[in-house]
Amino acid sequence: MADKAILYDATRCTACRGCQAICKEWNENDEIIPTKQNGVKSENRGSNENPKDLAPNTWLKITFNELEHYGKVDWLFNRRACMHCTDAACVKVCPSGALYKDEAYGITGFNKDLCTGCGYCVEFCPFDVPRLEGSTILGKTKMSKCVLCTQPSLNRLDAGYEPACVKTCPTDALLFDDREKLIAIAKGKVAALQAKGFTNATFYGEKELGGLHVMYVLNDTPDKYGLPVDPKFPATATAWQDIIQPLGWAVGGLTILGLALNYIIAREAKMTKAIPGKKEKK
């Protein structure tokens, strides 16, 4: 079966955020309502963008970025969620097999039951996507992220439907199809944008990390949209999975050392990752 993918055309997105709402509704993720009723004051932080960040129950959010480019003010919207990389660092470092490459669709699947909450995926993701929920002290921590609507009993893809976010999009800013087909469409779109004067228009995701399963049509360079320009598979992830972890299993004592080492490496990797900060408003 051919790999499936989502193509997000930022130039068609009106940031209506139907996708953001339906993602929670379909996947039964509670909304973070920082309401007064819950004892937490609700908050607008000087932006249309909300909630502030991805979270265990926010797998998808639309970002808003004001800037001046091509000689005028613009408002760029972007879709932030799991990119479903072909070379997925999270899968590589996952010690329990909870994260895996789905053979049917090519996406990065996740079996929550197997997740031990170790957090390596969080540390190694080049796009800063996975989030941890629950309590570390009680040992009930779990990771959470977009699984492209393939949760057991809520699996839209197996039922022959497109993901909920794609279904809800009124402008076809989101398309779901065979990855190869979408690549051809995206290339046509970017060429059209360049012909229209958007000289920096970019097709993002074709080659990055072996090919993403969420690809982007942008009217400028990826950094303007808050995307890493050249995301890399972290070398430390390879070191962890292929060398340190087996060694650890063999030499029990080393595991602890490995963990410590990994922690240090991951911290380092996280701090040096070239992900631009949120661009909306400081």
Partner: protein, 802 residues
């Protein structure tokens, strides 16, 4: 809408003004994107750079309330260009289909001569005497020939022809004047003119999309008149991808308007009966237009058929020729008296109105000058609110800052069902009446509107029958039979469609309605929606139309007569051949019209000069009106400043609309205290007064509280940081909101002076999951001179740190 949502995809250029479809009509943007995919241009004119602007090819900022200055500038640009390059315009359309060649009374004078006023004004410049703020319109008239038909000069050279009079008035609207008045950079303004005016070429289609940013002004109706003038000069009315589209803010607001929601009309836009209409005949004579032109269809000449059929629908067997079909049962508003939203709340405050039923509305949040309106509710003896949730209006008696013990109003809340919990029709902006089925049961004791209305009606009828009272017969004689337990919605729909009372069969078209009492019809434009062939509104056949322009004639039903594009007779030349053969709406072939349902069905002008009728069948002239003599403040739109404005009118000495009613002169803010322009609007995430969205956690999460958008320049002036709290105040009230400091709002340069504008969302209130101040605490009780729609979009405020 003249056209419909899908048809937007056929446009070569879309001008969105006074609207924000990306945020407030999100689904429409799919059609706009399709037009763009096909090479179309999107222009957005708005005080703020919004999510719509972000998708536009051209964004032009303009100061709130200066639309006519901008549009007048466009009219001047077009008229100048028509004279220079007539080959770029459809001159046949302009001279044969519009009133541009009509000669006007030589006594008529316009703002170019009278410093902003038109001839016939009772008062002087900036008149303050309310009785004199009105026009005698005798000079706003055509010159007729001996047969009583208006004289025309098809060369458009006569100085008294409509075309030349327009030219004279708009000569003052130069690009410099537009820049000086609107704050729009000249270069951007001219770019808009060039792009949109290019659709004047035969075969090109330009579309105007508007919403409340156009209408909610003291000159709201004239703003739309200006669109009409532009679209007629560009031959854009009646064609695919053209027209003027009112983007409705609620799914069924078109339907509610069709059914006489407004105080000045009955169902299907029949004019309201008033107390001076002492007989049915007098009423019908007053509201039925006449013409001496044998080639004018003058469709409204059929008015008596629609009126009598409506009375038969209401009073059934009780309506007979002998009792003027029950005409005298009806309550009759006082002539000249205003019963609009503002007027009702003013009357509540003075105690004239004692009881109020608020159905799916929340004026405590959505009404202008909301402090006044909340207070006015206190004067009521009783209030009934029907809604899905607890609303601010139903809870006005325990709003912050008041003592419930001091309020004696008895309040009832009727829990209602939402649209998915009941069966019925919804009419969209494009006049498509679409039948919906019930998807599920509602909670608790919630009932649908029809059930509630039926129960209330029956109880009121019982009481009137027992006790009598003024106007009792209006209720007791009413023909009301939709079933005993739950009223049958199909019975209602059939009654709306109407019956041939002789045969008992459902009517198939309003063309067969009669004025002798042998037919009934609850809303003549809906006649044909539910026929002997079945419920036409429930049709779901996606077969394309003859010319495949997206009409889908077998999907649902569009009024009138399933016509998808109104005024479509103007889409063809004098021989009935489409101007745009790539997108034909109708086409005269083999002795008949093909394509969409042709307006009136008369043969083309050259085919049968005798039997033909001019294409604009709804005007008495048969031609599209460029000269609107029925308007309150002048036959052509003229720029006046909003009631509250920091700017002296650059175009004339008349500061604001000379014909508006000023309700609360003492509450007019002055520039020294309130130097900043305020504007209110909605966002994607919330719906109107918030009843339906401020209780939905997903939406509350995305937009948790009210905010005020301001430029970086103003924020720096006021020492306001992004995300901090500010107080915005007007002469009516003050609000506390989060400051959203943005590059997307820029100060306007008006005649060399910096003028700031802020924008606020108005969805919020004190009930529900998300609470906060409504921007309507700031808005004034002042409205349009013709419709009294409130001015929500331009008023004066000040801003300070909280």
């Amino acid at each position: 809408m003249t056209n419909h949502w899908n048809d937007i995809a056929n446009s070569d250029c879309i001008l969105v003004m006074g609207g924000n479809p990306a945020e407030n009509h999100p689904a429409s943007f799919g059609h706009i994107m399709t037009a763009k995919d096909r090479g179309g241009t999107l222009i957005h004119v708005d005080p703020r750079f919004t999510r719509t602007s972000a998708k536009a090819d051209i964004y032009a900022p303009l100061r709130s309330g200066t639309d006519i200055a901008f549009l007048g500038g466009m009219i001047k640009y077009i008229i100048d260009d028509i004279e220079k390059n007539p080959g770029n315009y459809n001159m046949t359309y302009i001279t044969e289909y519009t009133t541009s060649p009509y000669l006007v009374n030589p006594g008529y004078k316009g703002p170019a001569e009278l410093d902003g006023l038109f001839s016939g004004y009772a008062g002087g410049l900036n008149e303050t005497d309310a009785a004199k703020r009105t026009y005698a319109k005798s000079t706003w008239a055509y010159v007729n020939d001996d047969a009583g038909i208006p004289k025309k000069d098809k060369t458009l050279k006569d100085p008294n022809c409509v075309f030349q009079l327009m030219k004279k008035q708009y000569a003052r609207y130069t690009p410099e004047m537009v820049a000086k008045t609107c704050g729009t950079p000249q270069k951007t303004f001219l770019e808009v003119c060039r792009s949109f005016t290019a659709t004047g070429k035969t075969g090109k289609a330009g579309n105007i999309l508007y919403a409340m940013g156009t209408t909610q002004h003291t000159v709201g109706t004239q703003n739309i008149r200006a669109y009409a003038i532009i679209q007629l000069l560009l031959a854009n009315i009646g064609i695919a991808g053209g027209g003027i589209q009112a983007m409705r803010g609620e799914s069924n607001v078109q339907g509610s308007t069709d059914f006489g929601l407004l105080y000045n009309v009955l169902t299907s836009y029949l004019k309201q009966i008033v107390n001076t209409d002492t007989t049915l005949q007098k009423y019908m004579d007053r509201i039925t237009p006449t013409t001496k032109d044998p080639n004018s269809a003058n469709w409204w000449g059929n008015t008596p058929k629609y009126v009598v059929s409506l009375l038969k629908s209401w009073y059934g067997a009780n309506a007979t020729a002998d009792n003027e079909f029950g005409f005298h049962y009806l309550p009759k508003p006082h002539t000249g008296k205003n019963y609009s939203h503002i007027a009702l709340f003013e009357a509540m405050e003075t105690g004239t109105i004692k009881g109020l039923t608020v159905w799916g509305q929340n004026p405590a949040v959505g009404g202008p000058n909301a402090n006044q309106e909340r207070k006015a509710l206190e004067k009521l003896e009783w209030l009934v609110a029907a809604d899905l949730w607890q609303t601010e209006t139903a809870n006005f008696w325990r709003r912050p800052g008041v003592d419930p013990a001091s309020i004696n109003t008895e309040v009832f809340l009727l829990p209602a069902l939402n649209s998915y919990e009941k069966e019925g029709s919804v009419t969209n902006s494009g006049r498509w009446i679409q039948w919906r089925y019930k998807a599920g049961d509602g909670p608790g004791e919630a009932h649908d509107d029809l059930w509630m209305m039926d129960k209330i009606f029956k109880k009121v009828k019982e009481l009137y029958t027992k006790e009598g009272g003024p106007g009792a017969e209006a209720i007791t004689k009413m023909d009301w039979d939709y079933g005993d337990e739950h009223p049958d919605v199909h019975k209602v729909a059939k009654e709306i469609n109407g019956y041939d009372l002789t045969t008992g069969k459902l009517m198939s078209s309003f063309a067969s309605l009669k004025s002798d009492g042998t037919t009934s019809c609850g809303a003549w434009v809906y006649c044909g929606s539910y026929t002997e062939a079945g419920n036409q509104m429930a049709r779901r056949d996606p077969t394309p139309d003859t010319y495949n322009i997206g009409l889908y004639p077998k999907w649902a039903y569009a009024w009138p007569l399933n016509r998808r594009i109104v005024y479509n007779r103007a889409s063809v030349d004098l021989d009935g051949v489409p101007w745009d053969k790539e997108h034909p709406v109708i086409w005269w072939k083999d002795g008949k019209w093909t394509g969409d349902v042709a307006d009136g069905g008369f043969p083309p002008i050259n085919v049968d000069p005798k039997a033909t009728r001019w294409p604009f069948i709804m005007t008495a002239e048969g031609h599209a009106r460029l000269f609107g003599s029925g308007m309150a403040e002048g036959p052509f739109p003229e720029h006046y400043e909003p009631w509250e404005s920091p700017v002296k009118n650059p175009l004339s000495k008349q500061q604001f609309n000379p014909a508006i009613k000023v309700w609360r002169a003492a509450e007019q803010g002055t520039v020294d205290k309130y130097p900043i322009i305020g504007c209110t609007y909605r966002v994607t995430e919330h719906w109107q007064a918030g009843q339906m969205t401020r209780n939905l956690s997903w939406l509350v999460e995305m937009q948790p509280e009210p905010f005020v958008e301001m430029s970086e320049e103003l924020a720096e002036d006021k020492g306001v940081k992004n995300g901090s709290r500010v107080i915005v105040e007007s002469a009516r009230g003050s609000v506390n909101m989060v400051a959203l400091v943005t590059k997307r709002l820029k100060p306007f340069l008006i005649d060399g002076k910096t003028v700031h504008e802020v924008g606020m969302v108005w969805h919020f209130g004190y009930i529900g999951l998300a609470a906060g101040d409504s921007a309507n605490l700031l808005t004034p009780h002042v409205g349009d001179a013709n419709t009294m729609i409130p001015e929500y979009k331009a008023f004066l405020v000040n801003v300070r740190k909280a």
